[in-house]
Amino acid sequence: MYRYDQYDQAMVDARVAEFRDQTRRRIEGKLSEDQFKPLRLQNGLYLQLHAYMLRVAVPYGTLNSAQMHVLADIADKYDRGYGHFTTRQNIQYNWIKLEDAPDILADLAKVEMHAIQTSGNCIRNISSDQFAGATADEIIDPRPYAELLRQWSSFHPEFLALPRKFKIAVIASDTDRAAMKLHDIGIRLVKNDAGELGAAFYVGGGMGRTPMVAPLIRDFVPLDQLITYSEACLRVYNRYGRRDNKYKARIKILVHELGKDEYARQVEEEFAHLLTQNIEPPLAELERIAAHFTDPAFETGLSDDLDLSDPDFALWVERNCAAHKQPGYIIANISLKPVGGIPGDASAAQIHLMADLAKAYSFDELRVTHAQNIVLPHVKKADLYTLWQKLEAADLGTANIDTIEDIIACPGLDYCSLANARSIPVAQKISKRFAETGKSDTLGELKLKISGCINACGHHHAGHIGILGVDRKGVENYQLLLGGCEGDDTSLGTITGPGFDENGIVGAVEKATDVYLANRQDGERFLDTYRRIGMAPFKEALYG
């Protein structure tokens, strides 16, 4: 994975000094809250429902054990002993003090980490495929490109006061594991007819109040023009994105209102101009970064066999493990969704353990997924059983990846001042109900996502089953959506009808799954059956 050189280190160190100074000036009253807020947001510090909340960046979801240990230490030293892994591959802490924040950033800087631009109207953490570098189905590891973009976007002087937040995802496979088309810019590395590597740019996706799937804006940008083209996309947005209405300020609205062809045309014009300005790093820089992402020292000649005689282990392998490109290796997903638990939360002890396991069994590397789970990307099959036993002992061995128990849930009204309803208790009730009845296994792949408000941080629009919490005259109420999908066949969910209270929504989810079970054919997933039979049978079952 990427390691800082003296330049990268100088930048994070300067950022810590800058924030320390800004915090001092705030506490002394030289900065008002209105002046300080954008500054602290661009260091990931929110003023949230219970306290300040700090969102630490995990660039493209990749980290090593030393970094994980520091994340655990921060939880213990400055917070209440746990952290929350987010739907953008970051981690956040809910009980931070402003007066501690500069020291926390200093601790992070020592292990090449930061909270730069994890909030605010700027370019945010660049996300990627959690299986990058381990999967056989990518044409190349996308992360060097994400790193190139990360450096370009950090403290970019022109783009620190955008109309709104800006989220970029980079992938390099046909299988989209990063919900790429639901980003402001989604980049897929591709090969053209001549076999040359370049990037397809999708611009204008997003969820929130007005979910949209990003249209293809340019099918091929050569590798040595990536930064220039990205800059053109951002400059057009900075100049023409709406600033009159916070809810219409994302680039998806601009692309939608201009039309994708006109937006693409304006970008081409700006791109042609910027190509004369020498802003592109040389390809040697991409090569320098890519050298950090070569394969670890895989052993060769290893057996691909796995002893699956232990049925619990066998289930965990089936649900949580994915094929690795190297014979004898496997990708292991760690579920942070124990039945009845808080999705995405991990205690300091668990974070320390995952760090140790990564060091022992995964070439010292971990990934955070946007589904709020952790991945150990490079595990020898020979080590897998031992690894699983250690995970089990720490309540990290739940075998439920991509099942109905693997719920994506925003923190909701329990933690978030933007929320209208609590999301975590709903997730807990659903996971318990389906685990108890044994239905999780029967249902197979079912991506359920819960958001506590229309901002959709739980990605409910992209759930096979989605739940949106709303405020109905001061009482929490929940809308049910069906048929969303974040993958390559991206689709947005449809509301079934009137909402439900907290117990009602659990029952409604159960009824929807019963309709699926009654109608499914030939190995169809829930999503497939829904797409085939449509909403009507579900509406009938829900509302009679």
């Binding site: 050189d5 330049y7 990268d8 100088a10 930048m11 300067a14 000094a17 800058e18 100074d21 800004q22 000036r25 030289k30 002046q35 954008p38 500054l39 109207n121 450096q151 370009w152 950090s154 403290f155 970019h156 002087p157 022109e158 783009f159 620190l160 006061a161 955008l162 400059r235 900075n238 100049r239 600033r243 101009h273 300005q277 020498n278 802003i279 790093p281 040389p282 040697a284 820089e285 320098r288």
Partner: protein
């Protein structure tokens, strides 16, 4: 308190800046003020005669002025480029990188804070409108071309 900061050796322009709209009728003016909604490229045919371009920041969170500034410098504008309005300490270094060489904040700025702000960044990641060599250029021995 600092009222106007200026990083130029030449004499400041005395004429008041006209709006972009007024400028289209008064094309012998040497000073113009760009608002966030204006298109800075409208001034490109006149850059030779302009000695002062003010870019207004009614709110420091409206970042259109940053693009306007870079566009003007990219087009070859060599005169004074002045950020006016809600110009605060924490945006100074970014404004400078976008090509501003003068600053007229609405509210006075503490000189010590100003100096710290301009000296904040030992390196820069991107090429912009200033002369600073980006980190990628330093890494690969590329001097400004």
């Amino acid at each position: 308190m600092v009222d106007v900061l200026r990083f130029r050796d030449d004499e400041p322009v005395g004429d008041p800046a006209v709006t972009v709209d007024a400028f289209s009728e008064q094309t012998n003016a040497s000073a113009v003020r760009v608002e966030p909604g204006d298109d800075a490229r409208d001034l490109i045919p006149f850059l030779e005669q302009l000695r002062l371009i003010e870019v207004d920041f009614p709110s420091f969170m409206d970042g259109r002025g940053y693009s306007a500034a870079r566009i003007l410098r990219e087009a070859g504008y060599k005169g004074e480029l002045r950020a006016v309005g809600d110009v605060l300490i924490d945006q100074l270094s970014h404004l400078r990188r976008c090509g501003f060489d003068a600053f007229a904040p609405e509210k006075g700025l503490d000189p010590a804070d100003v100096e710290a702000a301009f000296n904040r960044w030992p390196e820069v990641y991107q090429a912009a409108a200033d002369d600073r060599q980006p980190i990628w250029a330093k890494r690969h021995g590329i001097t400004n071309g």
